[in-house]
């Protein structure tokens, strides 16, 4: 499934790199410890987190993640949005909390297993 379809179906707000929404999402990963994301996420994952620090962009770039969903309507820091634009990492914001958002992603066919 393409990122664009997920954005539309879950009503996510696109905060950065809107031109990169044609990427294919291969799976999902949810964690707020960036050390964990660096160790265990996989290329093409959509990453669900509540962290808004600029380091999330570097981690997503390093791991070739499809995009980042920030939960609970948290506002990414300005520097985070700036970096995401430069690096072409989509930042999507949901008003939902992690459990609910991950459930809805799963219902769309996105899995944490490969």
């Amino acid at each position: 499934m393409k990122l664009k379809e997920i954005v539309d179906r879950l009503g996510l707000k696109v905060m950065a790199a809107g031109e990169k929404l044609d990427q294919e999402v291969a799976g999902g990963f949810a964690s707020d410890l960036l050390s964990d994301v660096m160790a265990n996420s996989r290329e093409g994952d959509i990453w669900v987190t509540l962290q808004v620090h600029p380091n999330i962009i570097a981690v997503a770039t390093l791991k070739d993640l499809a995009g980042i969903v920030i939960v609970q309507g948290r506002k990414p820091e300005d520097q985070t949005v700036g970096k995401a634009g430069q690096e072409g990492v989509p930042i999507l914001v949901s008003e939902l909390q992690t459990f609910e958002l991950v459930g809805r992603l799963y219902n769309l066919g996105i899995s944490g297993m490969r």
């Binding site: 707020d32 410890l33 960036l34 050390s35 660096m38 600029p54 380091n55």
Partner: protein, 247 residues
């Protein structure tokens, strides 16, 4: 004249809900620190410095410098030590921290947060949720500490919880930290080998003691002219002959 000072810059008192409440009272901390040969300590309770006056008074007759500090939790749940030359400066920072620290302590769950005076009489129980996280971003915490000429040290970078590396994966490039702290049991050299991207930061080690026998379990030796914040800064930067001699 330069000399070696042995410093444990991360000790909790009974104000931190997670400490041994029967042990970490001011006089006992001072006695233990002197007994094991420390020259400088910083008392860094979670998000608060309210026990500093009692500790300072308790140290008056001892050959020991006690610095005012606190361990601030950023909104990313990273622990950052802020250590200051005066209680006034630490209190200024504490006021901002309190303003950005939501919640109320549940003593049954987290423990008592005891504020004492110099006679070790209980003045009050702090009601704030000191164990919680502030709403301040990491960079804002570092900036806040520097705004009162404090030194900002990222706590226990080797730990799997509440460390800058566990929470953010790596130390953000360009972050103006004065040093990174390594826990007891891991040497400074080992930390240098194990973590990449920390080459530009000075390393220190301290105990993060929550009980008396924890005090000084690791400490840093500084070569400097006097036991104060300015000298520690010089030593961390390695200038004017001052330097970190080791852990």
């Amino acid at each position: 004249m330069l000399r070696a000072y042995r410093a444990d810059l991360h000790i909790h008192s009974i104000l931190s809900p997670c400490t041994e409440i029967t042990e970490m009272a001011p006089r006992a901390i001072i006695e233990r620190a002197v007994q094991i040969g420390l020259h400088v300590i910083a008392v860094c309770d979670h998000n608060s410095c309210e026990n500093y006056p009692a500790l300072q008074t308790a140290s008056r007759t001892a050959d020991l410098t006690v610095l005012a500090g606190m361990e601030i939790t950023s909104r990313e749940e990273i622990h950052i030590l802020g250590i200051f030359d005066t209680y006034e400066r630490a209190s200024d920072v504490q006021a901002v921290v309190y303003k950005h620290l939501p919640g109320e302590n549940d003593e049954k769950t987290f423990g008592y947060q005891v504020v004492v005076n110099e006679r070790e009489e209980v003045i009050s129980f702090n009601k704030k949720l000191l164990i919680g996280a502030t709403t301040l971003p990491l960079e804002a915490v570092v900036e806040l500490i520097h705004s009162r000429d404090g030194i900002a040290i990222a706590s226990h970078i080797d730990r799997e919880a509440y460390s800058i590396i566990s929470q953010l994966g790596f130390v953000p490039p360009g972050l103006a930290l004065d040093a990174l702290e390594v826990s007891p049991g891991m040497g400074l050299d080992e930390a240098r080998e194990r973590f990449s991207g920390i080459e530009h930061f000075p390393l220190v080690t301290s105990s993060d003691a929550h009980s008396l026998d924890g005090i000084g379990r690791s400490a840093t030796t500084f070569l400097m002219a006097a036991p104060g914040i300015h000298e520690i800064k010089l030593a961390l930067e390695g200038i004017e002959g001052r330097r970190v001699l080791g852990g």
